[in-house]
């Protein structure tokens, strides 16, 4: 049963990584919308981030899983259940994006104006300025915040066990139920979560050191 638990740990890691990828794309879009000149883009984006940050994570997960089925039923009159995995990814990546967009916005604003003006004065086209001057610095400013949000995301994955994704938490639950040894299995699951967290913390620390080596 230990191998099941370890495999489920990989499942959790995969789920978190997929959510991270989707979440990053969403975060960039949300950040862009929030900084846009058009109110029609700005307002819905800020509303979405505010709501997502104010709701309990479990509510977001349930809302998307049960809500999507319900919505489809209202639209088509058919009961189709979406895959719990992808509902979980949607919820987790939305939650990640809401916080990451905030971080990105702060990081973009932290790049000093003079840099952009200097690039302009040197005759660098806007796209080049953004890609070669602004983006690398934004990334550097944003990394600590994003690292934190990755750790939050890792821990939030446990919630998708409640909608039936066979992740680490789910496996621990079924092992606990079948062996009558809840303490053992939940403690083991906790240790695996801890191991994933510690390894990613170390990795992120190295990445951070690399990114800021010129400072």
């Amino acid at each position: 049963m230990m191998t099941h638990l370890l495999n489920a740990g990989l499942m959790t890691l995969g789920l978190a990584l997929v959510s991270l990828a989707v979440g990053m794309v969403l975060a960039v879009l949300l950040c862009g919308a929030e900084m846009s000149r058009w109110r029609l883009l700005r307002l819905p984006a800020s509303a979405l981030t505010t709501v997502l940050r104010g709701l309990p994570e479990i509510l977001v997960v349930f809302f998307i899983y049960f809500g999507s089925t319900h919505l489809l039923f209202l639209l088509t009159g058919e009961y189709i259940e979406f895959s719990p995995f992808w509902c979980g990814v949607t919820a987790l990546s939305l939650l990640f994006a809401a916080y990451a967009a905030q971080t990105l916005r702060g990081a973009l604003n932290a790049v000093s104006r003079g840099q952009r003006q200097a690039a302009q004065a040197l005759g660098l086209p806007p796209l080049h300025t953004f890609v070669h001057i602004v983006l690398p610095q934004t990334w550097r400013h944003a990394l600590p915040g994003l690292s934190n949000q990755w750790l939050v995301l890792l821990k939030d994955t446990a919630l998708v066990s409640l909608i039936g994704v066979h992740d680490l938490m789910h496996q621990a639950k079924s092992a606990a139920a079948s062996t009558y040894q809840p303490f053992t299995w939940y403690a083991l699951a906790a240790l695996i979560y801890l191991a994933i967290t510690l390894v990613s913390q170390q990795g992120l620390k190295r990445l951070q050191a690399r990114v800021t080596r010129y400072d």
């Binding site: 309990p56 479990i58 994955t157 919630l159 621990a172 303490f183 939940y186 967290t197």
Partner: protein
């Protein structure tokens, strides 16, 4: 439209439980955080290793696992079941508060420690040079640290309030628990969870607003100079 009001009315029955868990969790968390911060700041031998371990363990694992570990875990051991602790540990409400408090304690300790470390060393030295006692020095340090702690602590309060919804996973009928029950009965998912979400959002905005008020009051002494 009437359905909205009806759901809101039923869900508000869980408000008391949600507030009880959040409030007690925060109180317990504050207590744990103060003790841990003291241990870490004074570098109490041996104990500060234990405190570091505690922080690592709690902040490195999901709250859901902690809740399940505390609620379902003890049943594995007969000696716990026969002890006095069992009458508390078999209560889901007690376990939820314990888990949330232990969790909040770890995060709040990190916050306090960070704020204390951010107080410039010169300030402590100046206090000592002026012949202030240990307690007076501490009070100066604390006032400095407060500037950082109050805004960050409001985040923690929101986190605990949101986290209290996980109590629904061990059969507690808080707002989230009631929302799940009504959803199971009516399948009116979007409306039920929508109303529950609105209640949580409202509470969170209220809390944030209250903290901003407190911030302005508590930090008024800084605006005089």
């Amino acid at each position: 439209m009437t359905k909205w009001i009806e759901y809101a009315y039923t869900l508000l029955d869980g408000l008391q439980v949600t507030l009880l868990i959040t409030g007690s969790g925060l109180l317990l968390g504050l207590l744990i955080a103060l003790v841990l911060t003291w241990i870490l700041d004074k570098r109490v031998p041996v104990l500060h290793w234990l405190a570091e371990g505690y922080l690592l363990l709690i902040t490195g694992t999901p709250l859901l696992v902690q809740i399940f570990l505390i609620y379902y875990g003890p049943a594995q051991f007969d000696w716990i079941k026969q002890s006095w602790a069992w009458q508390y540990l078999r209560e889901p409400l007690f376990c939820a508060i314990l888990a949330l408090g232990m969790n909040a304690g770890a995060y709040t300790c990190r916050l306090f420690k960070g704020a204390l470390d951010a107080v410039p060393k010169g300030e402590t030295l100046a206090c000592r040079a002026l012949g202030m006692s240990e307690w007076q020095t501490l009070s100066v340090k604390l006032r400095h640290a407060m500037r950082r702690v109050i805004p960050a602590y409001s985040n923690e309060v929101v986190l605990v309030l949101k986290g209290s919804s996980l109590a629904s996973t061990i059969s507690i009928m808080d707002i989230m628990g009631l929302a799940q029950r009504i959803n199971g009965q009516t399948y009116d998912t979007l409306t039920v969870f929508g109303v529950a979400g609105a209640i949580y959002l409202l509470m969170n905005s209220l809390l944030t607003w209250l903290f901003r008020l407190l911030e302005r009051r508590a930090l008024a002494f800084q605006q005089q100079g």
